[in-house]
């Protein structure tokens, strides 16, 4: 048994008349990384605690509903302090930064955002102990029919 190389797969795709999109593991674009570092002040970010909810298929990038839930209690001395949203392909990497006090009771926020293209969205939560937690989601943005010309 042999393992198919990337070249074999490409060749097979070409033979079938199929356009294959072979995407290398995409590094987080620089601007988004810089924006995230500005938010975390360079502190490490762990994955977990955060649940970023987005529709996998978006009908119009002008309005994409997004909800972030952070699974952490909201005690005066130990709570979620901030939740920030970032994107990698809009003209600007920042979307919103929400600031919470323990009086929010629950770390759940929703809003609607614009996405210029299919892309990755990152949500990062900052806890009062200074740790950062994150989740990310890939969103496919479809184009509407008969857009205004």
């Amino acid at each position: 048994m042999t393992t198919a190389t990337r070249r074999d797969i490409l060749r097979a795709g070409a033979a079938l008349g199929v356009l294959l999109m072979v995407r290398p593991a995409r590094a987080t674009p620089v601007e988004m990384r810089v924006a995230i570092e500005a938010f975390t002040k360079g502190a490490p970010v762990s994955s977990g605690k955060v649940d970023l909810v987005l529709p996998p298929l978006v009908e119009n990038g002008n309005s994409v509903p997004v909800t972030v839930n952070v699974a952490h209690w909201m005690r005066p001395d130990d709570h979620v302090k901030a939740v920030a949203l970032f994107n990698e392909k809009n003209p600007q990497p920042n979307v919103a930064i929400f600031h919470l006090s323990h009086r929010a009771g629950r770390a759940t926020v929703s809003t609607r955002i614009r996405l210029g293209d299919s892309q990755k969205i990152v949500a990062i939560a900052q806890l009062s102990d200074g740790t950062f937690w994150s989740d990310e989601a890939e969103v496919i943005v479809t184009l509407p029919a008969c857009a205004e010309s």
Binding site: D51, L52, V53, L54, P55, P56, L57, E59, N60, N62, S63, P65, D135, E136, A137, T142, L143, P144, A145, C146, A147, E148, S149
Partner: protein, 256 residues
């Protein structure tokens, strides 16, 4: 990340399924939207179209024009006087000897009764008044076209709906009768029942009328769009509303 697999599955089913819209299978564009867009319309505190409805309520109660008269001065409480009115538009106007749209009726009232300068087509104020009046009929079935005087105009509207036009040589019926439920690019083709107008369209990031939407469709097939307030628009709207009879009004609808 929570992936909503059900909506993805629904999209795939829509790709596969298609049929002609029979009288018994008429569906609002609402049914073809994703669950998130449906939720946006269904919750009045989340529906951006409600901002326009509230603007319309203020305008309804504000005196305007040389007559210094508000809509409410004649019509009273819109919740009572305007209930069901939008379900019958476009309706036959004795003076014009032709059908007129709800927007045209509002403009007529404004000119004749308020003696106020006309509101521009697609202006926020005209859309707001129209949305407020139509909202009073939300949930009531469309009844347009019952008046026999409208028959020749409905026929004319049907003619426009089935007539091929533009550089792409498509009729409205080619998409909305023969291919509803299929996808045009990423978007599902609805049956073209204008039950939510004026709508908040995500594409516009604003409210807009059916005429604005029809102009988008016509530009889509590379045809010369009809002008705002033109008889063609009124006839097309009359035909579409007659065709949508029985479906509930949804104003303010949300569409992609």
């Amino acid at each position: 990340m929570t992936v909503r697999r059900s909506s993805l599955a629904a999209a795939v089913i829509l790709l596969a399924g298609t049929a002609l819209a029979s009288d018994t299978d008429r569906r609002s564009g609402f049914d073809f939207m994703g669950p998130q867009t449906q939720a946006m319309q269904a919750d009045d505190t989340a529906n951006p179209g409600m901002l326009s409805v509230l603007d319309g309520e203020d305008l309804w109660n504000t005196p305007a024009g040389a007559a210094n008269r508000s809509c409410a001065d004649c019509h009273g409480d819109a919740a009572t006087s305007m209930r069901g009115v939008a379900t019958r538009y476009p309706s036959y106007d004795e003076k014009a000897k032709a059908p007129i749209t709800l927007d045209q009726r509002i403009l007529q009232c404004r000119a004749d009764r308020q003696e106020a300068p006309p509101l521009a087509w697609e202006s926020p104020d005209l859309l707001a008044l129209s949305a407020y009046v139509a909202h009073q009929s939300r949930g009531l079935p469309v009844e347009t076209g019952a008046d026999p005087q409208l028959t020749p105009f409905i026929d004319q509207g049907r003619e426009l709906f089935t007539q091929r036009q533009g550089q792409l040589d498509f009729s409205c019926a080619d998409c909305h009768d023969a291919n509803w439920g299929k996808r045009l690019g990423g978007a599902v083709i609805p049956q073209a029942h204008p039950t939510g107008y004026p709508i908040y369209r995500l594409e516009w990031q604003a409210m807009g009328s059916l005429q604005r939407r029809l102009r988008n469709c016509m530009a889509g097939v590379r045809a010369e769009p009809y002008g705002f307030g033109s008889p063609e628009h009124t006839e097309l709207e009359l035909f579409l509303m007659t065709r949508a009879r029985g479906l509930p009004l949804e104003t303010p609808g949300v569409r992609p």
